[in-house]
Amino acid sequence: MNGTLIVAFLRHRMTTPIRLAFLIVAGFFPLLFIAAAPAMGFAPIADSFQFALIFGAGMIGQDVSSGVLQLLFARPVRRDVYVISRWLGASIGAAAAAVFQVGLATLILSARGAAPGAEAVAITLADHVASAFGATAPLLLLSALVAGLGDIGLLFLLYTSAGILQAAGGGLGHAFISRIGVELQGFLNPTLHFVLVLNGHPSWHHLITYLSTVTISIALAIVLVNRKELSYASSS
């Protein structure tokens, strides 16, 4: 991990107007539902997927398409360190936004007379942080595959495919087709549910799926970036 890369990445994300606009909308819009219907608790803020998208979209692809990778890799920076730093930068940004959102939601719920217990707040925070670090990993892999913001397009395509598979499996009565759709969706947005841990029923399958998805995504992204050739001569 390289602190310089992480800090510069976060600074870039926080100074991009379009990302800031999305961050404000994604951060505050669900809070309106919480304010309007406090009985729903934290339900309107299910996970950190939207923050992962805002911070992570194009995390490698934009560097490839803009050409800054050449200058970056002319420096003593290992490519695997660059990839991991990008993932950490996006994850830290998404997790911080999620923590801020959960904090605001807690304040709103308290003000509306539906204050959540400390345990519920802790579980929600842990789930959201895990979601932030999880969702950015497959996005990192997609960003290493395609230039620019093509990862968003690819993600949308895969999500749609997962939805179609689930619907088709249900309609045709083939459970395995639905299962493929569910697993694909799970791969794209890995999450953890700490409430199960707290209740004494930790799902090891769930935990291992989450960790393997994150690890495999990062490993594949490193392989892809390591194989990348960096010269405009190759594309001219």
Partner: protein
């Protein structure tokens, strides 16, 4: 001990288009660049110069052959730590301001943090960018300013190997002079400079040796300090008071071994086979009382490389 840059039998092929058509960018290039040398790379567009530079920097993986810098692979982190690079396409982190950009690269280069502020200010000053430019976002920079900030980042930490891709492209005359001075400074402190440029006069002025690359081969390597051994046309101009007749000019040419191509009232064009012939001709004219005001080759040594047909691999 520094071993310089060694390139052995380097080949690189690209696949292009849907049919995967193979385009050979480099074909068995071998050369050595000595430590402290200023080495130029010239050639027509599509000759393989950028691919060659890409391989030297470890950005491209050659199909065969190898590059070593101080005995290490070009993508070795130890090599990266002593390398400065200015790309032709000035794609930088344009959202940063100049000062932050240099500080960012200072940190990436793992240079001492306690020297960061002073090094950044010194780098800005070195390339002639004032404090205001340092605080301005890079996206608001002109082409010339981009070139200067790019050069400033390439020179951070006094690298021992500096790769410059078209360093004076889009720069005003003052900037060109500055770049020449900076390259002179680099040479004085013993840095090895690899310069890829279309600006032949600049290359000729700053480089010790120049490789002419065409069709993926190094067709010739010119040592700039050595005497010219190829035929060139010399234009000689004299003052009106001492104007010789065409017959006199023909006699001087014949005496010195040159050939009179064309004679005018104030100048003439001679074909000289080498430096010695040129010197004999000028000496003969001056001895005869002709006040020679100017003697310039019509084509520089490097320009000549572009006009002469060469065998593939002739100079490699």
């Amino acid at each position: 001990m520094s071993k310089g840059i060694v390139v052995e039998d380097l080949s690189k092929t690209y696949r292009r288009g849907l049919a995967g058509e193979q385009v050979r960018a480099l074909a068995g290039v071998s050369l050595t660049i000595a430590p402290g040398e200023a080495f130029g790379i010239i050639g027509p567009n599509g000759a393989g110069k950028t691919t060659f530079l890409g391989c030297l920097l470890g950005f491209l993986k050659p199909d065969s052959g190898r590059v070593t810098i101080d005995g290490h692979g070009p993508d070795d982190l130890a090599v990266r730590a002593m390398t400065g690079y200015l790309p032709e396409r000035l794609v930088m982190d344009r959202w940063m301001n100049g000062r932050d950009f240099l500080a960012y690269h200072h940190a990436l280069a793992k240079l001492p943090a306690e020297r960061r502020t002073s090094d950044v200010e010194a780098a800005l000053e070195r390339v002639g960018l004032d404090a205001d430019a340092g605080s301005r976002a890079i996206r608001r920079y002109s082409r010339g300013m981009l070139q200067r900030i790019g050069l400033a980042q390439a020179l951070l930490g006094e690298p021992r190997y500096v790769f410059l891709d078209e360093p004076a492209s889009g720069v005003d005359p003052a900037g060109v002079i500055l770049f020449r001075r900076l390259i002179g400074d680099l040479r004085q402190r013993g840095a090895t400079v690899v310069l890829n440029s279309h600006q032949l006069d600049q290359v000729e002025r700053v480089c010790d040796r120049v490789a002419y690359v065409s069709k993926g081969h190094v067709q010739a390597i010119e040592t700039m300090s050595a005497g010219a051994t190829a035929t060139r046309v010399l234009r000689v101009r004299w003052t009106a008071a001492t104007a010789p007749t065409p017959e006199q000019l023909g006699a001087h040419a014949a005496y010195s071994g040159a050939v009179l191509r064309e004679a005018g009232p104030s100048d003439a064009r001679f074909e000289a086979a080498d430096d010695a012939t040129s010197a004999r001709l000028l000496n003969s004219l001056v001895t005869a009382g002709i006040t020679v005001a100017e003697a310039t080759p019509e084509e520089s040594r490097l320009e000549r490389l572009f006009s002469e047909p060469r065998r593939p691999g002739a100079g490699a």
